[in-house]
Subunit: 181 residues, 2 copies
């Protein structure tokens, strides 16, 4: 496999870091891949945009920071404005339709999904927005299997909330287009 460099970005309360950790754990604990997951906090963290990096590879990962992501997820306009220019030419840019307007010229395959609104409509709890995004993410990228994400969720999520998270994950999976990679 090619090394995959990912940035999840958005605002503080959207569960960006949690998504990144769940993805990294799914890849390493359940698919025999290597992963590095990191957050850099600088002056911009105090401003608002939150960013979390994941690198996944079947080989050893030497440098843990993502410079040019193959896949960039932006869940707020501020995050899009700040990070869209980083994307590796030909990469995938996944955004939420409710939060982000595409205003820049970006050399990437755009996937714009109405995840926030669908989560509110179908599940009614915005807290699982990040899990819906993760569902769309794995369906688009085919990086890890749904069952690997579920195994991580089963270990992390209190029993009473597991079904809600599973529904959000599946909602994201059904929303994702089938890109040829």
């Amino acid at each position: 496999m090619e090394k995959c460099r990912i940035i999840f970005s958005g605002s503080g309360g959207q569960g960006i870091i949690t998504s990144a950790i769940i993805l990294a754990e799914a890849a390493t604990l359940h698919e025999s891949l290597n992963a590095v997951q990191s957050q850099a906090y600088g002056p911009e963290a105090r401003g608002g945009s939150s960013r979390s990096d994941v690198i996944i590879s079947d080989k050893e990962i030497r440098y843990p920071k993502v410079i040019e992501p193959n896949i960039l997820v932006c869940l707020t306009q501020a995050a899009y404005n700040e990070f869209a220019s980083l994307i590796r030419p030909g990469g995938i840019l996944l955004t939420d339709k409710f939060f982000v307007k595409h205003e820049k010229k970006v050399d990437a395959r755009l996937v714009e999904l109405d995840m926030h609104r669908e989560v509110l409509k179908e599940i009614g709890r915005p807290i699982v927005f990040n899990i819906c995004m993760l569902g769309a993410f794995i369906a688009i990228t085919k990086l890890v299997k749904e069952s690997s994400i579920m195994k991580v969720l089963e270990k992390r999520i209190p029993h009473g909330f597991l079904d809600m998270n599973k529904n959000a994950l599946e909602l994201g999976i059904t929303m994702a287009p089938d890109l040829e990679l």
Copy 2:
């Protein structure tokens, strides 16, 4: 300030990653410092030891991985066995007395605290062991203020659990020796 490189290590369920994220957020959101926080998952993650790195500095941080920590926290014997040799000469090694026996010759200042047992005795809920450790950590290192950690906890922890976390933080602070740094 000198750049401070930290490794928290232990086993999966001990809240290692959460502690690292709380520390990084406290430093950046409430003390105007910069921080990078990361997890590397490789074959060893499947074995058992969990490790989370934090670098804190008042300057820009270029390389996000910790090679030689100034401060190493080990909460299991396996983590101690794996990581103790990494410590920067003269650094601080904080361990839990119940989980870790010092068996190696390490050029570091050893701080061995009975955090696990005290948390069980005083609070009765092992889930806040990581917060007690964080209390001891900030009291020993003086890296961030208690109030900065509390601000992060207030945002992250559901209201009904905040007092328990505050008590655990303060328990850790009272247990810490006053090292001359």
